[in-house]
Point group: C2
């Protein structure tokens, strides 16, 4: 310990951190979660496995951070502030804009291949699935909760609607089409979901 003090988090080199994220995502996409190992990630990133263990306790922890970083990048590339859904005052337009970014991300193999591998493992490995839902998916869903609450305050959404359930009307169909290949994924599709969710299927 005295001879080899663990480097402070601030000393993590941005370059090797990013190399480790990319290696972790590429490896889980290639071989699936069960065969992904810290050793394999280290070899692919060109670092020693002790470098990884100094910063993260497990492969799940590396992957969690790698996905968080990827989501951040996607938001930045789309010119959006991360962790917020725009509020232009037009709820339908704002939801459509955010879902279009999600559609783009789902079509991007850098995101889609590792995300699918991880989702598949989460279906049969319940602790892992719950950890990723709690730390990765649920915080993103809370952004919709916040936007829907603001819409309730503005009178654009019924005051008695539960935002956490309401968001599922447009988020879950897209998720299921992407996960299970149950239909094409287009901007027209996500626009339609938003319209149906806001105005309902019954005649007005």
């Amino acid at each position: 310990m005295a001879k080899n003090p663990a480097p402070d988090a601030s000393r993590r080199s941005e370059k090797s951190r990013r190399a480790i994220y990319e290696a972790a995502l590429a490896l889980v996409g290639d071989v699936g979660y069960p065969k992904t190992t810290v050793e394999g990630i280290a070899a692919r990133a060109g670092v020693g496995k002790q470098t990884i263990y100094r910063w993260w306790p497990s492969k799940a922890a590396v992957l969690l951070e790698a996905f968080l970083d990827l989501s951040l990048q996607a938001a930045q590339e789309a010119g959006q502030a991360p962790y917020v859904i725009p509020d232009t005052g037009d709820l339908a337009a704002d939801l459509k804009a955010v879902l279009r970014i999600t559609v783009d991300q789902m079509a991007d193999p850098r995101f889609a291949v590792p995300a699918r591998a991880l989702a598949a493992e989460g279906l049969v490995n319940e602790p892992l699935g719950r950890e990723f839902v709690t730390k990765l998916l649920e915080p993103q869903l809370q952004l919709y909760v916040d936007r829907l609450r603001a819409a309730q305050a503005a009178g654009a959404v019924r005051a008695d609607a539960d935002p956490r359930v309401a968001l599922e009307l447009f988020v879950s169909p897209l998720a299921q089409r992407w996960l299970q290949h149950t239909g094409p994924i287009t901007y027209a599709y996500t626009d339609t979901l938003v319209d149906y969710a806001l105005y309902g299927l019954a005649p007005r």
Copy 2:
């Protein structure tokens, strides 16, 4: 061939057919799809593997029929005609009734454990996933399309709504909660989904 003619489908013993279905579902739930083999199914069912190969070309084919049979049983146990959604004239009530049966099925390990194992495989094995969607899931979704079309004819659903997209507003949220453990699954939840989907989130 002349010495060992393949038995006609009508000669399949109901008892061994059901034993094979149950063995296939139990095995895929226990060990996952990749490690499920026709030999393993045969051993668990107490039949020779040639018995299985005489009736089905592959493990995927056995599993497909086993799930179809299980869905049929679930409908019968719920006192419903299979392959139809009731039409009492009250669309919301009819959809809620059918979704409550699905909620029950998702809580039943006989269905849930093998279905989850198969869904997980379908995420990363695209040909298998597409086969099961086409042959198992999509025919069930078409029942909702038929019911929504009847509702359109009766004026209970907007004529310009696409039934194949509309059904996803209440089916996909339930599917995602079940697959990814993103929230509790209750009758109150599915009832709420139906109400939101039919009447929308925006004030009327």
